[in-house]
Amino acid sequence: MSIINNIIKILKIKLIMQGVKILTGQGKIITDFNEAIQDIQDGATIIVGGFGLSGIPEYLILALREKGTKDLTIVSNNCGVDDWGLGLLLANKQIKKMVASYVGENKIFEKQFLSGELEVELVPQGTLAERIRAGGAGIPGFYTPTGVGTPIAEGKEHRLFNGRTHILEEGIVGDFAFVKAWKGDPLGNLVFRKTARNFNPLAATAGRITIAEVEHMVEVGALDSDEIHTPGIYVQRILEGKNYVKRIERRTVMRT
């Protein structure tokens, strides 16, 4: 009898080993936004996802504002509006340098820039996206035709490819990255929603420490492996936020 029991035991163990392994969380989940950002120091470089006010990491920005960390270099496509998104950090004079492609929505921005308080590097949107992607992908530099013959090409290496001039641009890596996603799991896997995706997947790869806030934290296995937009390997900390404001910058509707 005991021989049969032992055989059954061994068979069971074999089945378990051959079966699908379900990963457990790896200790990435954080419940407190202040805790998530506690090691961000003055002078840090933070890559922030979002386009306009769509897909912005609202709670991480609010927590950073409350913490008051200053002399920050922020890399993000835009700077929010005066009273929401990254504009909150700007108004609180926490940003020393902004790397962005379009800052037109922000009056405080224009004021701080024209007065010299704020250092600005304007980067074409495609170049910015590719610089962040490259940074996270281990590509230190790449050539692009974007900006040739314009002020942004000044001082940059030029090179011909197929008879066309290109300029050398460098990858960007941040000390931290703030990412906003729609769904996430304890492994840090992320799924984004519609045009709230934008720079978030790129930012996720390019922060030495990536902090993701999600609308819905689901259990491991709930996200179909074929449909994950950002594999969890890029994400070090993940939190669920509740009651996102998701402000609309320009509400346009069909004329009836």
Partner: protein, 226 residues
């Protein structure tokens, strides 16, 4: 018809069935409403959507669904979402057939300036610099003269450039020009506009297309080259 309507009605003729099109913020966005229903195109939004649909019905606005101008939109069935690196790979990699952008100045070589007025307006270039190097065809739309009645079509741009020699076609409220290796050519005048008026109001030098003859009813008094 006001100047915007004249420009938009001519610009929409550039959009052909089956094209993938990017419409810049500002006046170009208005072209979308004028695309005839029988012309099927996909409108690309640089922030990560191929297949921009009409503005949503009131009450159905989605903060996760906006266009490059940060306006709430819808997506057409069959459309797709992607991230910003993917979006600009699509643009820079030559996959967009046509980009229509606004302009502040265009030069006779086809240089475009549309992102900055030094000391006054520094909003940033957004995706414009990538678009002018990536899309297969660049059409610029703008008013022919500024509020001081000065020509916005220059011998050389005075404002910082968006791109050098990037414009293929320019459409204004007065005329349509093409840019070729041989220089700028006047192709058409808008209804009721004479060639002389165009010559008078344009700082840049251009030749006149052979198709523009007195058959069009426009009396040409000036010599062929200006």
């Amino acid at each position: 018809m006001d100047t915007r309507t004249i420009i938009i009605k001519r610009a929409v003729q550039e959009i052909q069935n089956g094209m993938n099109v990017n419409l810049g913020i500002g006046m170009p966005t208005l072209i979308a409403n004028e695309i005839p229903s029988e012309v099927h195109v996909l409108l690309q939004s640089e922030n990560g959507l191929l297949g921009i649909g009409p503005y949503p019905v009131e009450g159905m606005e989605d903060p996760d669904l906006i266009n490059a101008g940060k306006e709430t939109v819808t997506a057409v069935i069959g459309g797709s979402f992607f991230d910003s690196a993917e979006s600009f790979a699509m643009i820079r990699g030559g996959h967009i057939d046509l980009a229509i952008l606004g302009g502040m100045e265009v030069s006779e070589q086809g240089d475009l300036a549309n992102w900055m007025i030094p000391g006054k307006m520094v909003k940033g270039m957004g995706g414009a610099m990538d678009l002018v190097h990536g899309a297969k065809r660049i059409v610029v739309i703008m008013e022919h003269t500024n509020k001081y009645n000065e020509s916005k079509i220059k011998k050389s741009c005075t404002l910082p450039l968006t791109g050098q020699k990037v414009v293929h076609r320019l459409i204004t409220d007065l005329a349509v020009f093409d840019f070729t290796p041989e220089g700028m050519i006047l192709l058409e005048t808008q209804e009721g506009v004479t060639i002389d008026e165009v010559i008078e109001k344009t700082e840049a030098s251009f030749t006149i297309s052979a198709n523009l003859t007195s058959d069009n009813g426009y009396v040409q008094k000036a010599p062929i080259t200006t």
